[in-house]
Symmetry: none
């Protein structure tokens, strides 16, 4: 089964958006044995889009279009594809009702132009969009080729692929092709070159392959296997996964979609433990990351973003003496913040961060990137000093990574990294 | 001058890499009056690459290829392009010497296969690569079209574009070409279709064009003008910008890189006003967004992520009666949170959010997405109710957008949206 992807949008051709959608779909297709041969990007231009769709249909069995399904005049993907596939559209009453209900629930009057989104293929089918007003569509040609039209906003696109395209593909393809699948091991508190040195031999494997990928404050190892079934590929990956963990040990915090915050929340909930957070330079980022996880309210009692010295003193009871003698960015202040927020909340753990995120506020003794992280627990308080690199956003993010990793390592391994 | 871009690499088709190079080049080309009509991605496959190059050359005057210039067998871009352009290659002694020197400086013996990188076009020219061993190349056809081959690693690609391609284009194009430039107007608290209804006539313009783009909780209007100079294009944009603002008024919060948080922080600092934030369902996100802005410590006194009822009562002094009778997600609770955090901090404004981010916690009376936002000020307290759509992350983000926009509108226009 051969596929092509056509991304539609002048904003892509002008470089105002990086095409993460096409990359996401590209990653998913090999899992179903679909070979992607070609990807194209065209602007919001009817004749060039029609040309691209025709060319793709002449080579491939399946063509995906991304974008141009909105309610505006610019959005002409469905109309163009319907013409090329000779699969005309009709107004779908059910979709139209759903659109009206969507607007009614938000107490907004639906502009009549939105009805265009309720037009669906006659031979093919509509693909319901759980997160937006633009449904997708599968157009089918007389010779049995299919063109699948998906919406452009990534927050709609990704669930459409996972929940609509994948079942469609599974049904259409049956069982007999070779599949490629991957798993990502995620590591924190260790640099990419250290990882590479430690697992050098495993990086030379052919099937599965292992490839390191550096992200801010994390390293991912992507294990990819080819096999005749998903089960076989996963078993091959399991073997390499176990070898990597035996070398990298507690630096592996999770796999695939797991994040430091999801692992921390899960670890706390499983043990019925509670947390309170006192943040200075991270300004609420740690608390926000934790509360991204459903169910986190069962573990997080509260967070304080104590940005000013006044807040550190009055809300968190950091002694004025510490702020005057050692300063707000100090081992002593991090310790007091962690211990006091734990006492205030009556939680099992108190986590604190104080540092200099920049670009201003640094000095020769206390440069931008100097960060202290404190962890108060029933068995004592620990403080770690870090010198972090990057701009303001990097320092904030790396600080939150180090804080979450310190808590994770302490809960799961009883030690401080 | 019409151009196309072909990105080469199986890793792109497998979705292992997001194509930031093509986006970067796409952004630079319009500045030199080059129209990009089409972008394609092919794997490391000679015949498909040759087909893509032929197709692109039949439509465009300039074709860029990205990737496939390395020393390995996989890397076949130059060989393929040379054949299609009928511009055969020759070994360039100078480039070969430079390659040998590059390896000598690193005390590595140069593999003989690397000499392949010293092959340059006969009719066209080589493009020296300051940061890598793979030089670029410009192949020229007999009819005067050019194919520019650039390396794939972004740290080599970007300087190659800036330091090699831009001078080449300036020289080739001379002065009499048109330039294209854009500006984005950013709007909050208004939906895409409402914006479109209001400015319908301006969306039909030809030069400048106006195109709406929906983002989570924001709408952007991209104004793009073509002219013979950057100054002229900017003046044309100014005219449309002023018309849009006269229609959309206080819904326009900024332009280009401005964000709601940067506008809020700037507005507070300019007026010497202070803020404290009490967050429930946004869990620290508003505070974190505000503290992303350098200098925000001059305006934000502190934030409390009062996730539990205990924290709402004990830290923020929300009366137990409100929590029992109206619940934590209520107009009354939002009001008390905003007023009490303002009093606690002694700040000019108190901003509060309480709601149900989901996926759990909803009920028929209080569904997921129900959010109350409170703003306490010297002249009174205001609460707005919202019904927001999307998943947990969306509800958090949209809540933070609405809260920041409510504060912005109150500071700048003295009213509540």
């Amino acid at each position: 089964m051969r596929a092509e992807i056509i991304s539609v949008g002048t904003e892509l051709l002008l470089g105002q958006i990086v095409d993460t959608n096409a990359a996401y779909l590209s990653k998913r297709l090999p899992e179903y044995g679909v070979d992607l041969l070609y990807r194209a990007t065209v602007g919001d231009n009817e004749s060039r889009l029609a040309e691209a769709v025709s060319a793709a249909m002449s080579r491939a069995d399946l063509v995906f279009t991304i974008g141009g399904l909105g309610p505006t005049q610019d959005d002409l993907t469905k109309e163009t594809v319907a013409a090329v596939a000779a699969d005309p559209m009709r107004l779908d009453k059910e979709t139209a009702d759903r659109l009206r209900a969507f607007f009614a629930a938000r107490e907004i009057e639906m502009p009549e132009t939105n009805l265009k989104q309720a037009m669906v293929p006659t031979r093919g089918t509509a693909l319901d969009n759980p997160l937006g007003t633009a449904p997708g569509a599968v157009f089918e040609t007389e010779s049995g080729k299919a063109i699948i039209c998906l919406p452009g906003p990534p927050r709609e696109f990704v669930p459409m692929v996972d929940e609509r395209v994948v079942p469609y593909l599974s049904k259409r393809l049956g069982q007999n092709s070779e599949i490629i699948t991957s798993r990502e091991l995620r590591l924190a508190g260790i640099g990419e070159s250290t990882v590479e040195d430690k697992v050098k031999e495993l990086l030379c494997g052919n099937n599965p392959t292992v490839a390191p990928l550096a992200h801010t404050g994390e390293v991912h190892l992507r294990i990819t296997a080819k096999a005749s079934s998903l089960e076989e590929a996963r078993q091959m990956i399991d073997v390499v996964d176990a070898k990597l963990v035996s070398i990298l040990e507690d630096r592996v915090f999770g796999r695939d979609d797991q994040t430091l915050e999801s692992v921390v929340v899960e670890s706390l909930l499983q043990r019925n433990l509670t947390l309170a957070v006192a943040e200075s330079c991270t300004g609420g980022l740690i608390t926000s990351r934790i509360t991204d996880i459903p169910g986190s309210s069962g573990a997080l009692l509260f967070g304080v973003a104590a940005y000013s010295n006044k807040a550190k003193k009055e809300l968190l009871g950091v002694p004025g003496k510490i702020l005057e003698e050692s300063g707000a960015v100090s081992e002593q202040c991090a310790r007091a913040m962690a211990e006091n927020v734990r006492a205030l909340a009556g939680s099992d753990y108190g986590l604190s961060v104080t540092g200099i995120a920049g670009p201003g506020g640094g000095s020769p003794e206390k440069p931008v990137g100097l960060v202290y992280i404190g962890l108060a627990s029933g068995s004592g308080t620990y403080v770690r000093k870090h010198n972090l690199s990057g701009n303001r956003a990097d320092v904030k993010y790396r600080s939150s990574q180090n804080a979450l990793d310190m808590l994770r390592t302490f809960i799961l391994f009883g030690k401080i990294p």
